[in-house]
Symmetry: C2
Subunit: 334 residues, 2 copies
């Protein structure tokens, strides 16, 4: 029977983790839908458009998995995981305004449907809601972790904005940006999971290291996919970073190993002077200079560090699933 | 000597309150300037442009005054008052993006100088910073009060956005909007002041009532000033609400007491079909229908309720200054 075929496939690490925390995740989804309600109709409409668009819930799953790995879980972990997803969702809404994006998760971005003002304000609402949820956990340390992550994310976003069209930006600067705008929330999601499980020392440090390195790997893969035709199948606009003049790792690597003509090309296009055929040429140069494969290689390095960080923790099904996740994230690309 | 003349004038209630909490306010200003620092240069530049533009710090003064009234004060109150001002500043940055404002506090609005994306992201940073500050107070009840206010503000802003160009909007809807977008933060600022002074019962309720009614009076006066030429002297664009199609109380009152021709006029202009001379005509109709004076009358009612709410609290210089503030806010208009 054809319909039985999917069950014969090995589940991906994301699927395995999702099964392990399925009950927790259902509770988190209930909280998310309950807490994006408001008598102000646009709020649930716009917010549901985003949160129901099939995001993988990878950040809340990390919180839940981390809590379960260390013997925790329950209502506190659920609120916290929902808060993490709310921070992430608020960031996405504001990102799409900042980048003037057309697509998000394969659907029209919310700002295209409701306008930039509504996306800004509903983002603010979700951000405030995340703090309401955290306050309800009654755990000041967890609040501290996530409030710090929230300001770090905003700093990372501003850093990225300032670096746009800076064709000479160095790799170090790029890594600082993705550490702040992406890895900080992964790190906080994992550390907060340890904290709600009552583990605030070495275990929390290990999970934070896991989250940070997973986040870096995740972002590098995302940036590589922006130059890869297959990204279109994942509901993303391909070439967004290129058109926006974002000097991501693939660009830095191609630029720094290119000849003079190529360096002139990168300088021109990253400064915003783009012509027809430039994106295709960028892809050709990246292939020639191995820029995508070297970016993936860097992602693999972070992924390995992420998995290694878990080795000091108790071995169980949660640790296994979390440990397999980083390599899988990197494998999305090929 | 001419230079001595200002000392002969009776200080305004804002000046009296500012003198009473002068040391606290200096501490709050230090915290504000310290906490808007960031290695990401645009953040302190853009944020300083706003917070140094001569805002009256009325919300943090309410927190400080409320705390002192009840025998509290010190570091906790300072952090909290700074957090309140950060929430307010974040809201202003996002408001100016949403309204596409040109002026703020008599200077070019930040979004005109740094662009909308930077204003959105620096607003997010300030909002996150406010939570960092609150977490440091270590007081979950205070966090709860301000986190709730933050989501209420966002709801109020979205409500207002949805009501733009709705020429038939009723007074009740308008009052709901200003209760959420403005009065909620005044109420939270006052209640939080009581809480850091260790008073969480009837005293906190009284101060919350004070703050809420003061906030309503404050917003009604602001909305009246939008139709008053003298507002230009206060560093505001006159006619902003009109041009944006915001159906504020002066419009509702003029519309509902107007003849058919006037109602047609209000319907047309509030829906966004505006021609040269329309603003002057709006001002003329408002004068004829006493719409401004009736709005101020309503503001005076809220101001009286605000002051009355303090009567149950210990009588001291702080209570006197806070008690005189609402009537002074209303007197700004004439």
């Amino acid at each position: 029977m054809a319909s039985a075929a999917p069950e014969l496939q090995t589940p991906t690490p994301i699927e395995t983790l999702a099964r392990l925390v399925a009950e927790d995740l259902a509770a988190v989804d209930s909280i998310i839908h309950e807490r994006l309600q408001s008598p102000v109709g646009i709020i649930p409409q716009l917010a549901s458009h985003l949160v129901d668009a099939g995001g993988k819930r990878i950040r809340p799953m990390i919180t839940l998995g981390a809590a379960r790995l260390l013997g925790g879980g329950g209502a506190g972990a659920h609120n916290l995981a929902a808060a993490v997803e709310f921070i992430h969702s608020a960031t996405l809404l504001h990102d799409d305004v900042v980048d003037d994006s057309g697509l998000r998760r394969g659907k029209a971005a919310a700002n295209r449907l409701w306008g930039n003002p509504a996306s800004v304000l509903v983002g603010d609402f979700l951000f405030a809601r995340s703090f309401n949820l955290m306050v309800e956990t009654g755990d000041l340390m967890v609040l501290d972790i996530l409030a710090r992550a929230a300001s770090t994310i905003a700093e990372g976003e501003v850093m990225q904005l300032a670096a746009v069209n800076d064709a000479d930006a160095a790799l170090e600067r790029y890594l600082k940006i993705i550490d702040a705008k992406t890895a900080a929330l992964f790190a906080a999601a994992a550390r907060a999971g340890a904290c709600v499980a009552g583990k605030r020392g070495a275990e929390a440090d290990a999970l934070e290291t896991y989250g940070r390195n997973l986040g870096l790997a995740f972002q590098l893969v995302d940036d590589a996919l922006d130059y890869d035709g297959r990204a279109a199948a994942m509901g993303k606009d391909v070439g967004d970073d290129f058109r926006e003049g974002k000097v991501t790792m693939p660009v830095v690597l191609a630029r720094d190993s290119g000849d003079m003509e190529e360096r002139d090309f990168w300088r021109r296009v990253m400064r915003g002077d783009q012509r027809e055929g430039d994106f295709a040429r960028a892809q050709t140069i990246m292939k020639k200079r191995d820029a995508i494969s070297r970016t993936i290689e860097a992602a693999r390095g972070y992924a390995e560090r992420a998995s290694a960080a878990l080795l000091s923790l108790p071995k169980n099904a949660y640790r296994d699933a979390l440990g397999d996740l980083p390599a899988f994230v990197v494998s999305r690309t090929h």
